[in-house]
Amino acid sequence: MGFIGKGLFEGMVVTARNFVGSYFDKERLVTVQYPEERVQVPENSRTFPFLVFDKDSDPVASMRCVACKICEVECPPQCIYIVMDRDEKGKPQQRPKVFDIDISVCMQCQICVEVCPFDAIKMDNNYEKSQYGRFDELVEHLPELLKSNEFYNKIKPTEATAVDAKLKADAEKKAKKAAPAAKPAATAAKPAAPAAPKPAPVAAPTAKIAIPDDAPFTPEQRQWLSGYLSTVAASGVAPAAAAPVAGTPAAPATEAPAGNWPWHDPGLGMQRRLDLAKETPIADKLMAAMAQTDCHACGYDCRGYADAIATGAETDLSLCLPGEAETANMLKKLMQEAGKL
């Protein structure tokens, strides 16, 4: 113990040291004169979400978002609002027409980013978003939300590179899967082949049978199918091997490589898809009623969800978010028709 007031005196020394030190020591002077000076935000820093598109020439067409609505459902404060784009005929376009984020409600939690299976939504790090009003001014619409992949790469280089690599690998895998898929189909005659869309031309013994351009096949499949049907038609023999397979539920569809179901094409309308799956077992019909985005909103892919419903493992028929009420109603109808409900 020293004299009375020693503690006070020592404290004064500390403050004095800090005061003087703040002129020389970077450690003791931590304030920044915003907005003249700015600190660099770390790469991970997040504020509000934006939507990524790939091609500068056509942001709307090249945006990654497929309007699967997973983020809309999962967003904790429910600040996302999505309407799927449809053409005049009401066919879903796999992209949002309306995509609103109310940034006065958004709490910057990044959950939408985490749940998006398509890497379509990412977090921005722009923190200067003040506006003069608190209603419409704070709702961000599609045009403001769309930002290019370059921009994403600029603000978050590490993360964006990883995402790009992943997307590229996915695309390659898909391409590779699609390529060999055509070959085994030739020998095993997968349900895909016989269920070709109304192959009316079979009757006409023309040398070459053209597959309609909008038919849901990859180029390889189309080529094979065209050749197959042509030979069948030329020889005058009905595709004997194929016909029974189509009707038998023996071949569990899960074995078929992904993307080999003719209806597994999100570009087709519901009616068209169901027509394609008309002759197939219930699981396939159910699958045809899904939105075909493989978005995992239901917790499965389209195939898995259909199988789960068919086997009774899943009883909730309203899980297909992108399919909206249309799919839910159709699932119900199909199940009723099959006598399972």
């Binding site: 503690g7 020592e10 404290g11 500390v14 800090n18 991970n44 904790p76 709490m107 910057q108 939690c109």
Partner: protein, 388 residues
């Protein structure tokens, strides 16, 4: 007509029949808009002169029914909302919720994630305790000095949080079965740097405060909380330990990897405001020790249990209670899941600062009204958590 001052009659006190001047008690409402209440909190005090006769805390100004919000969304959806409970310590809130859910669902957390959680929690303890001391001294009239020194140190920790989780205060960092992003070597180096620097700051802080005569005069023997009452009233955290209650969940429950780390639990003996100040300083020193060990031992490996699904996460029916030692005390989550299990059927937060307020009246009665703010400051409340 206004009387000129000189003409005003001098005010005289007339003693009553028994020769004593009769006085009245005065009811004073401190808050809700009062800087020393740390938010929107009110204390209805009955004063006899300057001394407190009775005091009733009034809360709920920030009530947003956090629990009901959580009962309306999926399990994961409430994680970002826990950040907003005790907005100083979002990391520990996240941990408490994740721990409760993991307990219910029986999820095993990988080692590295456990170490990351310990690192984050101890950093949170450092920033919370240093700022609380700052705030308490602010209430004492030390103005901003200690608080801003604390904030300067907190800044480094928040920078690390931002670099790791993306946000400075609303981290939303933990996930069921681990943490959202792995720590890079760079982050670990920053954490190490903080751990080595912090003792220096603490030394300086202590020099400024621990022996300061004004602080001693204002805090010693003020707001004494006896040990028995502390236990009976469910007081937890540094407040209970300042009263000598040897109860630290890191030691008792040994959740996470605290069982493998070596540290001591400092205890006070009187339980006055000064003890509560000093216990926090000592706890910070222990936290630094824990940090250093965790940073030394952190293994490589996955940062999240791979089997845990982000969406469509389900918990079998039943209930459970998970708790951790937050910087403010025992932070617990009582969760009930029913059939379906996609969202909590019941989600209850046991907020430490809410329950620590139970004995505010007992501590304040008999003291001067000026001491009330100091006592409240030493309780360490955050209204986001008290009101939920």
């Amino acid at each position: 007509m206004i009387q000129p001052l000189t003409d005003a009659k001098p005010y005289t006190l007339t003693p009553g029949s028994n020769g004593v001047i009769e006085t009245q008690t005065l009811e004073v409402s401190i808050g809700p808009q009062h800087p020393s209440t740390h938010g929107v909190f009110r204390m209805d005090c009955v004063l006899d002169g300057e001394s407190v006769v009775a005091l009733k805390p009034v809360m709920g100004y920030l009530h947003r029914n956090h629990e009901q919000l959580a009962e309306r969304m999926a399990w994961l959806g409430s994680m970002p909302y826990t950040d907003r409970l005790d907005y100083f310590n979002s990391m520990t809130n996240n941990w408490a919720y994740a721990l409760a859910v993991e307990k219910l669902a029986g999820i095993k957390v990988p080692d590295r994630a456990e170490y990351i959680r310990v690192i984050m929690a101890e950093l949170t303890r450092l920033l919370n305790h240093s700022c609380v001391i700052g705030f308490m001294l602010q209430d004492l009239g030390a103005w901003g000095t200690p608080l801003l020194y604390a904030f300067r140190e907190r800044e480094r920790i928040l920078d690390l949080y931002e670099a790791v989780s993306g946000s400075r205060m609303m981290c939303n960092y933990m996930r069921f079965g681990g943490v959202r992003v792995n720590l890079t070597d760079e982050n670990l180096a920053t954490a190490k740097d903080i751990a080595t620097r912090f003792p220096r700051f603490l030394d300086e802080f202590e020099k400024l405060l621990t022996n300061n005569e004004v602080l001693l005069a204002r805090t010693q023997r003020v707001g004494v909380l006896p040990k028995e009452l502390a236990i009976n009233a469910g007081i937890s955290g540094p407040m209970a330990r300042a009263s000598g209650v040897d109860y630290d969940l890191r030691k008792v429950d040994k959740y996470g990897v605290y069982g493998r780390l070596e540290f001591r639990v400092p205890l006070g003996d009187i339980g006055d405001v000064y003890d509560r100040y000093y216990i926090r300083v000592l706890e910070m020193r222990e936290s630094i020790k824990i940090l250093q060990q965790a940073l030394r031992d952190i293994p490589q490996g996955p940062h999240i249990a791979p089997e845990v699904k982000l969406r469509n996460f389900k918990i079998p029916p039943g209930d459970g209670y998970g708790r951790i030692e937050g910087p403010k005390g025992e932070l617990g989550f009582y969760l009930v899941s029913d059939e379906g299990g996609k969202q909590p059927y019941r989600y209850h937060v046991r907020p430490p600062s809410f329950i620590n307020l139970t004995i505010l009246e007992d501590m304040c009665v008999g003291h001067k009204v000026a001491d009330v703010v100091v006592i409240l400051g030493s309780v360490d409340i955050v209204l986001g958590e008290v009101d939920r």
